[in-house]
């Protein structure tokens, strides 16, 4: 036993809202109230992380398994830190080191993992929908840690958590607890079509009362996404930046897109790199965000990424308390 037991754990707010949910796959079926409750639990978890002993026994006896069928050190480490900070045991499965390369299916991999008696699976996969499929095949809780282009709900939660805190510190706290982003506008710039971060942020930010502007070259900006309530599309970055509360740049992966989908990187940078000029068009308090990893001076100018309005490092830091809240709500909050 560590010294954690000696510390009285803070009482998280009752996560009654999250009790309805067995999994976090995307925000389908989640209410704003339930999400705000998660963000408030994350506030409490953030307190824990400021203590000398950054550990509470909240999930003692539980086992969290991270199943990463796609490489991602950052997200996996963040989830594992969130589990251990609550005294959960952690099992890590990474595709690179497994039989998956020998052609084993997800279903068969899961059959093996099930024998290890984990209580919750954190799943990342290059194909959309795998966390949903796993949720059908298991009676354990499932958290989507990124599935193809579909969703990355904990990234959206940590973005919301970060922005809500930054706005509050700037003297602009939410006027309505359940709609913290009412009257706020988030602009997301880049390869929208292939971005699960854009999809999850569009889903969550609008659920919490805000508006989302998606911006990028038309070839990477699916028109159908503009039909979602509260979501607007534009190919003009000046227009997208005007009046925004936050500007979020997405990583552009030219090597993956190839020359059939993207013009030269120079043209992309000229048209869509976030610069001081765009921050000047946004609201006076506007923030700069990026889900990482960052291509410096490609999708965002270094002076913005490292500047006073940047939330990039805070986004990373928010990952742990937000994921602590998610694990807690799904494992304990609903029991």
């Amino acid at each position: 036993m560590t010294g954690a037991a000696a510390h009285v754990p803070p009482a998280p707010p009752p996560a009654a809202a999250a009790r309805r949910h067995r999994h976090l796959l995307d925000f389908e079926g989640w209410t704003a109230e339930e999400v705000v409750s998660l963000l408030e639990t994350a506030d409490v978890m953030a307190q824990v992380l400021t203590r000398p002993v950054k550990r509470v026994p909240a999930l003692q006896g539980y086992t969290v398994a991270t199943l990463f069928f796609e490489e991602s050190t950052r997200t996996r480490l963040s989830f594992e830190r969130a589990a251990r900070a609550q005294s959960a045991d952690v099992i890590s499965f990474a595709a690179g080191s497994s039989s998956l390369k020998k052609g084993e299916s997800v279903r068969d991999t899961l059959r093996t993992i099930e024998q290890l008696q984990a209580d919750l699976y954190v799943v990342r996969h290059p194909s959309a929908g795998v966390p949903h499929q796993i949720a059908r095949w298991t009676d354990r809780a499932v958290v989507n840690a990124g599935d193809g282009r579909h969703a990355h709900p904990t990234q959206a939660l940590l973005d919301a958590y970060t922005l809500r805190a930054a706005l509050t510190e700037a003297g602009l706290p939410p006027q309505d607890r359940a709609r913290p982003f009412a009257g706020r506008r988030l602009t997301i710039v880049g390869d929208i079509e292939h971005s699960r971060v854009a999809r999850s942020n569009a889903e969550l930010f609008t659920l919490l009362g805000g508006e989302v502007v998606l911006c990028g070259p038309a070839a990477l900006l699916p028109r159908e996404l503009g039909r979602l309530p509260g979501v607007h599309l534009t190919t003009d970055l000046d227009e997208a930046a005007s009046g925004a509360d936050a500007l979020m740049a997405l990583r552009i992966q030219r090597e993956r897109l190839g020359p059939r989908r993207l013009t030269s990187l120079a043209e992309y940078v000229a048209r869509y790199q976030l610069r001081e000029r765009h921050l000047a068009l946004a609201k006076p308090h506007a923030f700069v965000m990026h889900p990482g990893p960052l291509n410096r001076d490609v999708e965002v100018a270094t002076e913005l990424a490292d500047g006073p309005r940047s939330l990039v490092e805070r986004q990373v830091a928010s990952g742990v308390p937000v994921r602590m809240a998610v694990l807690y709500a799904l494992l304990v909050g609903r029991s």
Binding site: R107, S127, A128, G129, H132, A151, R199
Partner: protein, 423 residues
């Protein structure tokens, strides 16, 4: 061998023949109400007796992919679905691109209890779209159609040559009309649903573009080109325009494109992953309208079995295809005929006279001397779909548990009772 189907209502493309005992002897229809001793008696009272269906589009996976399906399971499944004749596709392993493989299929199928097999052969060797196969030799071995189904023929010059040879030899060319570069890596219909789900989309334009090319090459060469599995409003409208302007094309639609939409993919279950993809309610409405306005010539199942393990892979990896031979008629009868969208006679036409006309075969009739390919349909009893009862090796089905009417209770092929379901 003499067989009697007793007391059923006889219906074929020539009309309603009333309630009779139908006698079958030595592979052909003998006559009505003849009496006398028989070897096999089938009680068809209260049932519909009609020519066995023709399916110009099945994947039997034989040779080489017998883990998915083989001639025995596939032809038994066809018989259980009321089919008397099926045309098997050439995308097997090895590909049916050699006369020896065609001859082997024909010989082995003759020993199987089930529907009769009429194999298609490949247009290009290995379905690679680079070199033509030997059409005359393939036809002599028993091939009735040429197709690269599963893979669109990207090379338009090769496709034109294929049409020229096929026209000369009287072979039907069947096409999988999708522009492969516009389809790109799409795994479902491109639209609002695919964008929400983050799955790569396959736009309806990929189909419309290729239907147009295929129809224009048919007009240019005079070949009879059968457009397989048209799935979109746009694709069907292009086909309709081509037909009206004199292109010698015919059009097929499938049971799943007539009954399912892209919303089915919302649960990320690859059982609904099929090519071309399930599209929107508007596309389904257009295809249904096409059944009655003459733009659709035949319903083909595109029965495409895969193992459960393959269908339990992720959405990007799982193979395309739905196994549907055994539910096709009950599904369409229940949803379309009982749903008021289609007269029973028209549905039967699209499964009997329609496909026969596409192939240039005689219309199937319940007349003395005609081949004794007959199915008995129970239009009254309702039964839930249960994949576990399927004869196909693919027991997973999008319609599991759905209550349907119109189950085929007996099928006679060449005078032999090859399917009987006592319920």
């Amino acid at each position: 061998m003499r067989l009697a189907l007793r007391g059923g209502r006889l219906l074929d493309g020539a009309g309603d023949r009333g309630t009779h005992d139908l006698y079958v002897k030595d592979g052909v229809i003998e006559g009505l109400d003849l009496g006398g001793p028989v070897d096999v008696d089938v009680d068809a009272e209260g049932k519909l007796v009609t020519p066995a269906f023709l399916d110009l589009h099945v994947h039997l996976r034989d040779p080489g992919q017998e883990v998915k399906e083989d001639l025995a399971s596939g032809l038994a499944a066809a018989a259980a679905g009321g089919y008397g004749t099926v045309v098997s596709m050439a995308n097997t392993d090895p590909v049916v691109d050699d006369p020896g493989i065609v001859a082997d299929l024909v010989a082995r199928a003759a020993r199987v209890e089930g529907a009769r097999l009429r194999p298609a052969a490949a247009i290009s060797r290995g379905l690679r779209g680079e070199e033509l196969t030997d059409f005359a030799a393939l036809k002599a071995a028993g091939a009735v159609m040429v197709t690269d189904d599963g893979v669109p023929v990207a090379d338009s010059r090769l496709f034109r040559s294929a049409c020229e040879y096929a026209a000369e030899l009287g072979l039907v060319v069947q096409t999988h009309s999708e522009d492969p570069t516009l389809r790109d890596g799409g795994v479902m219909h491109e639209g609002a649903v695919s964008q929400r789900l983050g799955l790569p989309g396959n736009p309806d334009a990929a189909e419309a573009v290729m239907v147009f090319r295929d129809g224009e090459v048919a007009r240019l060469t005079g070949a009879r080109v059968h457009i397989a599995h048209v799935s979109s409003r746009r694709g069907l409208e292009v086909a309709r325009w081509l037909k009206a302007s004199g292109a010698p094309i015919t059009v097929e639609v499938t049971p799943h494109h007539l009954t399912l939409t892209d919303e089915s993919l919302c649960g990320f279950d690859p059982v609904y992953k099929v090519a071309p993809p399930l599209r929107t309610t508007d596309d389904v409405a257009a295809l249904r309208a096409g059944l009655t306005d003459g733009s659709v010539d035949a319903i083909g199942t595109d029965h495409a079995p895969h193992t459960l393990a393959e269908k339990q892979q992720d959405m990007l990896t799982a193979p395309f295809g739905i196994a549907n031979l055994e539910v096709a008629f009950p599904l369409l009868y229940t949803r379309l005929v009982l749903g008021g969208a289609l007269p029973l006679e028209r549905l039967l036409w699209l499964l009997q006279d329609g496909p026969a006309r596409v192939m240039g075969w005689p219309a199937p009739r319940l007349e003395p001397g005609a081949p004794a390919d007959v199915t008995v349909l129970d239009l009254g009893s309702e039964r839930a779909v249960d994949g576990a009862r399927f004869r196909t090796k693919a027991k997973h089905t999008p319609w599991q548990g759905e209550a349907l009417r119109g189950w085929p209770v007996a099928t006679v092929v060449a005078g032999r009772l090859v399917h009987r379901d006592e319920g």
